[in-house]
Symmetry: C4
Subunit: 250 residues, 4 copies
């Protein structure tokens, strides 16, 4: 409990943007990426050292009114007594380390967790998951911090996570979950969804392969296919956004 004043806001953002961010939270529920836990954030469109993220709340319940603004130390600008997610440092430290990233999704999507617990690596099984072709690192919080509650609950842990992620866009967290990032909200959601779908596909593929190599996307194919996804991926976002709009009227 600090008595220092909250950080200044980066300035007002449009209602449309707050609605999209709240809708993203519900899209991730509808697509099976998050359950009662997980969160999605968006860098402030006009202030790169601020980001927007729901107060601590189950993703299915988030409304535009629940979105708070944070600085890159994870301090809320406008909490007014509302509590914050313990793991907002995942977001703040990635925004600090990676100026190209404007949106971050953290989830415990169930098909992805196994790839954080074994030696076999996640690969891109099909073009929609092309962003995985560059490789998917695993962050083991135990290496630097010993036995913990597994949460990225402060800046130092967020920094360590961002370091393991490096220049990639997805990082797995051992015995916990994963993070998917992108230059825009729709693409971060797209990547979180297709990381989960790809994991399901890879489970079955590895079972069929019986130890043989698997002919997923190579690095060149991944780079080329990801360029297309950045455009065509909006088709998925537009569909998902419309489905949420039909439920909540915003």
């Amino acid at each position: 409990m600090t008595t220092s004043p909250p950080p200044a806001s980066g300035g007002p953002v449009s209602d449309e943007l707050l609605k999209d961010l709240a809708a993203a939270s519900r899209i991730l529920v509808a697509q099976g990426v998050v359950d009662g836990f997980g969160h999605v954030s968006l860098r402030h469109p006009n202030a790169p050292d601020r980001f927007l993220m729901s107060r601590s709340l189950a993703p299915a319940l988030v409304t535009p009114e629940d979105i708070l603004e944070y600085d890159l130390e994870g301090q809320a600008c406008n909490a007014n007594g509302r509590s914050s997610f313990l793991e907002r440092f995942i977001h703040s430290e990635i925004y600090k380390a990676r100026p190209d990233i404007h949106s971050v999704v953290h989830s415990h999507s169930p098909s992805v967790i196994p790839f954080g617990l074994v030696r076999l690596k996640m690969q891109a099984m099909f073009h929609n998951a092309a962003f995985l072709a560059e490789g998917v690192p695993v962050f083991d919080i135990r290496e630097k911090f010993g036995a913990t509650d597994m949460l990225v609950g402060n800046g130092a842990k967020g920094t360590a996570l961002a370091e393991v992620m490096g220049a990639k866009d997805v990082v797995l967290m051992r015995a916990h979950g994963s993070v998917a990032c992108a230059a825009s909200l729709p693409m971060a959601v797209f990547r979180a969804v297709y990381t989960e779908v790809n994991a399901r596909v890879q489970h079955w593929t590895q079972a069929l392969a019986q130890g043989d190599a698997v002919q997923g996307l190579d690095v060149d194919e991944g780079r080329l296919a990801d360029e297309v996804n950045k455009t065509t991926g909006m088709r998925a976002w537009d569909l998902w956004r419309a489905q949420i709009r039909a439920q909540v009227n915003w």
Copy 2:
């Protein structure tokens, strides 16, 4: 059929508590933990030698009016001709053996059953399932009782189950199902749900591991993470409770 009078009640309980217990039953359906079978109970808040549990009924149909009160011998205080679950002794004997436990869920959740039939042990695959890191014993009713109908249908069988569970919070039952316990109703439901989710995750993890060790939570991580879950787990309960309230208006 005994003609002795039913045991005395431990006293009235609030409507809110009866509604929460009935809602818990429906939450377990919604989360895929129970189907037409399974039950959840709550120790009486003012009388530790009494507990509350639905009459024999499919979990999806339970209402607050269906909740009966039992003593720790599994005798209903207020049956009035309503029939009881054959396996209420799972609950009565665990309450007898474990004063720290205030809520018990019994289910046949399908992903969990396999871990009661093989040598490989259930482990905690991620922080939400931290309560499994202390180890998950398997109760084989055949060891003490020979060939049976597999049901924990009397006090002696309930006692044997509670003995195998010991100081743990989850116990598997060979060729039958499992039991998840906690100090509160929300946490027992949370543990029943994440025992099932963890089982699904572990199936895929073992398949990927191809016999190698799996890097789940160790005992220290499990202890630390479970402390956090006892607080943050309410976020899941609040969501699930709201979803049931929207359906049934209580």
Copy 3:
């Protein structure tokens, strides 16, 4: 196309029974046992040489008005131009061979099909599937009939299927599906549902077992547990029946 008159009816049956049989068809859809294909029948309550079954129609669309009556040669008593399922001989020949059976379900439920294609046998993984503990034979139509369209489309093929089933209550059909039988409609539906659930559980169990024996129900446990299921199984039927009633108002 024969010009002989249709067989005589075994007499009228109650509306309630026709509704239950039509509801059974929809229950099997809701439980994932049948899709656009599959059928359930009931022996005529007063005429053991007649049975009741929907005209050829997707199970989700069956209403009480679609139920036809057949003799044990698979001839419809009251078709009035309505077409019959090609595989009604599965039903007619089982009723002929097994006076104790009063209801039959045929499905292609997807988790069960694999057990008809490999050497490993289906076993009872938990007490709800106790009826499988006596063993599950596989009918390979190719053995007696060579290359066919795989359908049990005449009496001879139905007879051969019933012979392979023998005194058991479930039989798999290679590269096709399975049949679940019982002394009553609710129990046949119960067995069809839990044959599918058991298959899912066994898939995961075999994967974990890595070639070791699996500790499912033994024959004695199966016999004892099945006795209980015949009573408690009505709890599932009552739930499923109520769910259909809420949709169709009959």
Copy 4:
């Protein structure tokens, strides 16, 4: 951007046909074959060198008004500024190469993708998937075109795909998806659905088989069973079509 005029139309088609094609798109969503991506087309009933297909749009959103007409070079006759799917050349080149085919479905249905990434071949696991018994080739775009964005985005790539498909009705695309074809719209949809169902069944079958041969349909059985499916398959189409009609009123 060409300034040449669009190709001439093959003539008007009935509203009923446009509704069926739009409904097919939504059926594929409902059956889990397509998500935000994928498309279904129909050869023009009166002009074999034209085909009908939605403008670029998520399949769940397609209405009869979104259907465009194309020539066999993938040029739209009536785009009026509406954008086309990048991969319409899958359809145009298959229609060019195979006069017997009148409907094509392209999807990334998730259970099918693994069979495009490993050596083990897809087989027909049960009679509904009889059309797979003739064998399922895999198109690897890398063989002829090197590293690409994985899309069949021009006529040359479509031609190469159609060549690998040859006289078969289903072809897998490495690290991408698959194509299912038939002589009619209902059968193409049926085959797309049962290719996915068959893949799920085969995954479990291969796991049980532990390297042994799997007793799926042989070529003769496949041929005989497929004949029946061409008739009985309409039962599934009629059900699926009715379910969409109930949602959209067309």
